[in-house]
Amino acid sequence: MAQENDAIGFYFLDLWRLHSKSAASAAAATTSSSASGLSPEDSEFEEEPTELDTVNSSGGFSLVGADKLSVQYPSVNLHGHDVGVVQANKPAPSKRLIYYFEIYVKNAGARGQIAIGFTSPGFKMRRQPGWEANSYGYHGDDGLLYRGHGKGESFGPTYSTGDTVGGGINYAAQEFFFTKNGMIVGNVQKDVKGPLFPTVAVHSQYEEVLVNFGQEQFAFDLKAFEAEERAKQQATIDNVAIPQNASYGIVRSYLQYYGYEETLELFDMSSKSTLPPISLAEENGCTGEGNSYAIDHRKTLRQLIRRGEIDDAFCKLQQWYPHLVQDDKSALCFLLHCQKFIELVRVGRLEDAVAFGRTEFEKFYRLTEVHDLVKDCAALLAYEQPLKSSVGYLLGDSQREIVADAVNAMVLSTNPNIKDSKICLHSCLERLLRQLTTCFLEKRSLNGDQGEAFDLRRILSTYKKA
């Protein structure tokens, strides 16, 4: 039992760690200039093409500008193997809904044999994109689409000097699409897996093309296109049938699980008066796992911790669940003691904090697994304005929340009807969201890492209708 309980405690210590890390990376993000806002350690992070590759080039048949964002055809072309092809420095990132880049035709040169497309890593650098296997190209001189051989298929208009042309990969639909001057020209099925490089080609004298990997605004409204694609997917999802009142039950069990008892009471009261009245199926659903167990105690403990009254919360725990706080070196006690220390710092009782820390942290410093957390707490003393420091997150509401949630889970685990205490770690809602996230990640990994992950934050941030 003691071990099981500590598993719960350590789970919340890990949450704290995560919190500490994200606070640190948020501080770092304000100084870095990554466009996606992701750090390289993030699993969703991917390197993006930023410039043209000048190492793997087509010899003398392409002349890449000093900014590595423009390409010229320097000579008089002789035959079909004299194409000036340039790939981007990185393949198109795939862990997203859509990848897109654009070119601007500065000069269509003698014959306007310009192409935009995508090619695989081993592409022959003297051939137009589309002429070889695993390559796709939209050609300016004939407006044809080439995929895999030298014969093109009718596709769109031709393009020439002054035109902006774009190439994109729609990972959800598994399609390439091309644009001209901000308008979609057409799309074509993508039947190749593996990395693909954004590619441009020039093939007659004086041709000159500028490439935009997103460093400047696109002529094409990519955001609107993405929204449209997501709406298409959403329309399919909207057709799925789910049991009536399923959401209602999940919200109710969430309130029960976390001990938001007063909200629950009002929620139940008003749902009785709705039309049609919602039937309260107590016996099935998440409620069956004893979510209302000790809800009064859990509510009181949460309120005390949220107000920062840690001593009172500790007393109540000693009174109601003495065995939970028996082991003074347990993860739960550690959390509570740290919070007490944090509360002392918050109200400026620094001397008391030091005295408390000396006795308490001394005890825990022997537990090597919490060194990092003790250090974070102790660091609060080092700053004149701890709130603005790198450990300022400790003074936030969410730190109290972690402690309150840990206490809540521990109390839930004392329910004699619970067979597996792991069930106490998550609300029904959290289990559903974890399953949803995992399904998306697994689906993507079985699809060659193509497509976007489930992003709850993005969904939550679309509060306002478009």
């Binding site: 799925v240 959401s247 919200v251 929620f267 399953q435 939550l460």
Partner: protein, 242 residues
């Protein structure tokens, strides 16, 4: 040919199934689940969004205090919206129209269909209460002119007026109009229009996430056997069927 297929087909099918579908054990799956971190504040936001959109104003206010989650809309506007909804649900359509106009006159001005449906509901309530003369007058003066503007309105009007032609309205072909579900339909249409006018989504996010879960599981089924959640209300993992 078909017999041949029957004999040889099954084991071959079985083999191809086994080789193409990845099997993920419960242990492996739980490890993946544990790598997923869902933020508490995000779950709180989801719950708040549900309470607000569904109109649980008292619960939303309390949840704000208990969880420290800020609602994404002024809670006072929920009370007004719910009053309109309730009025329609109780059959007080005139009252509801007045309340919508107090809230924002543009809502009905810019939604002719909604306005028509409210007037239609008013007609239904008159018929329900046996006020035949009043119902006829209202249909001719208020609804017919709108029917001339729009063909689908006219059809709806004719269907509604047909209620007057039957003695036993409960069992007549258009009896569904008198059903409580018709009131609920109209009420939820008004509710959605008010939410839209407040630049808020008309549906809560949670049901659509549940749908997304069912959809994601179904499409993953094509490529893998893994522990599923078949009952969203219990959220228990069920072992893969292999």
């Amino acid at each position: 040919m078909s017999v041949f297929w029957f004999v040889l087909g099954r084991p071959a099918d079985f083999e191809s199934m086994a080789s193409s579908k990845k099997v993920i054990t419960r242990e492996e799956w739980e490890k993946k689940l544990n790598d997923v971190k869902i933020r508490k504040e995000d779950m709180n936001k989801l719950v708040m969004n549900f309470l607000v959109t569904e109109g649980y104003v008292d619960a939303a206010e309390k949840f704000r205090l208990e969880s420290g989650t800020e609602p994404d809309i002024d809670l006072a506007t929920i009370t007004d919206r719910m009053a309109v909804k309730k009025a329609v649900q109780c059959g007080n359509v005139e009252d509801a129209i007045e309340k919508v106009n107090d809230l924002n006159p543009e809502i009905l001005d810019t939604n002719p269909q909604l306005f028509f449906h409210l007037q239609q509901q008013r007609l239904i309530e008159l018929i329900r209460n046996g006020k035949v003369a009043e119902a006829l007058e209202f249909a001719q003066e208020e609804l017919a002119p709108r029917g001339e503007e729009n063909k689908s309105f006219l059809e709806e009007l004719e269907r509604t007026v047909a209620l007057l032609a039957f003695d036993d309205v409960k069992n007549c072909p258009v009896g569904d109009l008198l059903d409580i579900s018709q009131r609920l339909k109209t009420a939820s249409e008004v509710n959605a229009a008010i939410l839209t006018s407040q630049s808020h989504e008309k549906d809560p996010k949670l049901p659509s996430l549940l749908k997304m879960l069912v959809w994601a599981q179904n499409s993953l089924d094509e490529k893998a056997a893994y522990p599923r959640i078949n009952d969203v209300s219990t959220a228990t993992l069920e072992d893969p069927a292999i």
